[in-house]
Symmetry: C2
Subunit: 644 residues, 2 copies
Amino acid sequence: MPDKPTLCRVHFSPDDRAAEVERGETVLAAAQKAGIYISSLCGGDGICGKCRVIVRSGDIQSKPTTLLDRDEIRRNYVLACQTTVQGDLEIEIPPETRLEEGQILGDEDAERFGMLSLVEAAGFPHNPVVRKYHLKLEPPSLQSPLAGHERLYQAILEHEPDANLQTGFAVLRDFNRILTATGYEVTATIGRRGATTEVVQVEPGDTSASNLGLAIDIGTTTLVVQLVDLVGARIVDSEAKYNSQMKHGEDYIRRIMYAEQHNALDAMQRLIIADLNELIEILVRRNSIRVSDITCAVVAGNTAMIHFFIGLDPTGIRKEPYVPVANSIPPLRAAQVGLHINPRGILYTLPSVAAYVGADITGGAVAIRLDEQTDLSLFIDVGTNGEVVLGNKDWMVTCSASAGPAFEGVGVEYGMRAARGAIERVRITPDFGVLVQTIGNRAPRGICGSGLLDLLAEMFRAGILARNARFDASCPARRLVRRDGNLEFVIVPKDQSAVGEAIVITQADVSNLIRSKAAIYAAIATLVKAVNVKIDDIRHIYLAGGFGNYLDVRNAITLGLLPDVPPERIHFVGNTAVAGARAALLSEEALARIERVARMMTYIDLMTNPKYMEEFVSANFIPHTDVERFPSVAGPRTGTAGSG
Amino acid sequence: MPDKPTLCRVHFSPDDRAAEVERGETVLAAAQKAGIYISSLCGGDGICGKCRVIVRSGDIQSKPTTLLDRDEIRRNYVLACQTTVQGDLEIEIPPETRLEEGQILGDEDAERFGMLSLVEAAGFPHNPVVRKYHLKLEPPSLQSPLAGHERLYQAILEHEPDANLQTGFAVLRDFNRILTATGYEVTATIGRRGATTEVVQVEPGDTSASNLGLAIDIGTTTLVVQLVDLVGARIVDSEAKYNSQMKHGEDYIRRIMYAEQHNALDAMQRLIIADLNELIEILVRRNSIRVSDITCAVVAGNTAMIHFFIGLDPTGIRKEPYVPVANSIPPLRAAQVGLHINPRGILYTLPSVAAYVGADITGGAVAIRLDEQTDLSLFIDVGTNGEVVLGNKDWMVTCSASAGPAFEGVGVEYGMRAARGAIERVRITPDFGVLVQTIGNRAPRGICGSGLLDLLAEMFRAGILARNARFDASCPARRLVRRDGNLEFVIVPKDQSAVGEAIVITQADVSNLIRSKAAIYAAIATLVKAVNVKIDDIRHIYLAGGFGNYLDVRNAITLGLLPDVPPERIHFVGNTAVAGARAALLSEEALARIERVARMMTYIDLMTNPKYMEEFVSANFIPHTDVERFPSVAGPRTGTAGSG
């Protein structure tokens, strides 16, 4: 029998993109080659069940899996990572598998969350890290024979008498030609580099009105780039996209392993840089600006993402004793990492505290002015890890809990990120009917973090979920049904759903979510005990993260995610990482404050803390094993009344 | 008639080197192409008469010149720059035209002049600008999870608690691999860059015993590179060569014009860099060292040479208002100018004061500890320009006089640089016999600066020269002869000379030398008057420059080059520029002192100073028009007695 052709063509719909791959390659690899991003939490290990695709025609081989049910198998569903190409294929990517651009926190969102006012009203002096001065120098004469370089310094020092000025080689070789060609009227761009202030560029004439910077948040899932007018102190535009690294694993520990196993540190860096440059290009074109006017960028992100971005080996982050290469990255030239801004533009990276408390947290803490608070305050950023900071202007303790990505929609059967078609608000009526609101008012495709939080709290109030976070089989709700012997709750029936089937939440989903909230609550409780204060001493709680655009803080308390304090003390603050980067862009003092916060934060390791495990176990109830801690939370409306 | 071949082969003896050039090219260009350096003061304008060569065979065209006499023309002498190649040629380069490696001030010379003791005993703390620390770091653990970068900083800060540490991109990406591979035992090299201290490199193990630097003096004529052991604070080796830019003019004003006219700034820079790299390679090979162990270089030189070296446009130096691009060059990476040391090595350039007072003077002033003197002191560096500094620890004034290169052997018929065969000492016996001593005890080829100084003073004492610096025709000396009606003095008769003819000094030569000494004396006198002090207030006079190895300071007074102070106040200090660079290499404090001296020096422009011209005219006598200023100088031994 002759060999089948070695190269096979794999065509994907509805994208209408194709790739040629060798026979034996996985369908996941073929999709990556075709430039299609498929949801893949486990990075191709066949354990997350996210990469479900439909084989329309062609020859495949597929490993057995428990992650597809009999009905799905009949409809030709396979896991793309567990299926090899054996001939030309037609593959359909169902909506739930698609990595679609989400509803990402941009500037409108920042405004909506009051972030602009938080930052711009934060009392940071308006003093951008990179500044332009229009200088009219006196030309040299016999009476005033000062050299060009010293003449330039003298003029800059009139604006900043205390600066330790430095000039790089390229500017040194170039500035005098510009001085003489323009009759000594130039614009000098200067920026802080540690203890010195660098002359970044010298331009002819007066360009001082046009000085732009980028505030960048490198999230594990989402990259956000905001274009900021450093003169007017306003956001010009904002753009975001998914992190292309996601094809190598949805959490960063898997990506670190991928980079190690495939010697792919450089490749992983290039993915981030290419993503950012794509966003920058969109911003530059859309706003008709000159790349050379972007003189700086400030980057926030978790420690692992910062390592990938700079090209530092992240291995230490995932291995005991969990030590990064660097927490503080010195200011670099943006061109050194390949960022397409002014070739001499400066790249500032906000400092991290530890392997699991990154630049997103230090920047966020200053963005919400935690370092100005005289009152005890709590800052929580919920993501795949839940980072918690407790403190005030004098001290801060911080820790990171492995919350898991359930509130990001991962590990939940119909979970999804806060993208169009995601259910973001849920209300259960007294007769157990369900009202949902989706992002973009689309037909529902799944449910995102804020929707899941609402759903769990509402199911608890309605008596569908018991205190132990199990479905109450005795509840008369019609939507509480059994499938394969297990109870599940139908959020959206098949005929109203966009995915051709009912959108449900299973007991396993609920358990994942409860473990997430328990991890975060336990982290909070452990910190509070570690510094010997009481929950009620906490005057402000700031909740940040990618839940979606609206979060019901009352429901967060009901669920036991947040401690039971008066709701007016709780503020949902959106993407504080990019707000921190923006604050640093606009104010040297903010950057200095972020650096100070990074030094003052005391890191408490939860993995080696026995108290944390006790707290975690106790928190696996709604709201908590110890109901005394949640006096305001009533029990289910039906069934026995709550004790509080 | 057929055209002659377009390409002609020009062969040079005794070098046995050849070049092919187009017909019509000059013989000077052919020599340059063949890699032979021919003496050429005027840069090819046909006015200095230095590029004399002999046409052995072949077809040439030569412009008429008054710079060759009939006898020379008969012997087929031509001026290489005024002669074009018309066919294949055989050219002989006579000894006097050859640019031969000289007797250049190296380390032995420094020792001989007490420079080592001057610098090393100068009380500079031994604290090299670039330092190595052997660090044994505690590896990270759960109890001590400090990140690698911060761990490294912590260890360095134990040595230097006040440092503002910075790390460059290359080191940042590399150091952690080295830390972990070596079990956290490394050597960190750090160096000052302005207000920050940079981590220059991190090496495995302990390399702290091997840290080398280069002290470089870029002279208009001579380049000196000293290899310095920064740990042992000693000179390892030294090498020197002529500046290859000399083929484009012997003084730097001509070279600046050449660079402008031929758009040759980059080419001029490359010549210096190639010369320095050649010297570095010799030093590296001869001492079997690793290039990577050379972690820094400190460069001194006049302002024009520094501009060429860095690649800054020197045009402003030669044009009113005589303003350089930069007096202070920030620390650069040596690789940025192409210097072949450690690729991350730092290049420090000593600061200049003005277009005509350069880094050789600021470095030299600190090398001789002028900035520590409580007494009034005078520092004179005699070269093509004569730079003078007057002052003490509290103030300094400086100026530069266009002395001309006569004391460097240029503009004097048998003048030459302090190279082998140069007459360096001269004594005239009572019966008008002449005793000479040559460098290397070779047959005399010409006479260098120290020899010329001796010769003039001795001719004056012997009554051969009158006070007005004219030959005294009534003097009975047999060696005072007439040629073409003009008096000249025979120093070495033809049969004892290495150049096939008598070595003489003409009235024109004497006049050039007297103008040089007058320019320097007038500069001294102008400075003294400008600050309203008296000559006798000057407690120390330091005379630096390329006169040769021995200089009779008494003769310098007799001639009126130096003011009439007790000879014990006068010190001949050799090459102070390279001594200044070496002091900065070995001591951050010395570098800081040089920077302070550059700021504190007040520059006085002589060109716009009417007093200077008066002084210059008065100084065109031996020792001076006003003999009252030189009470110790007796008149000629013969003839009427001096006024005493």
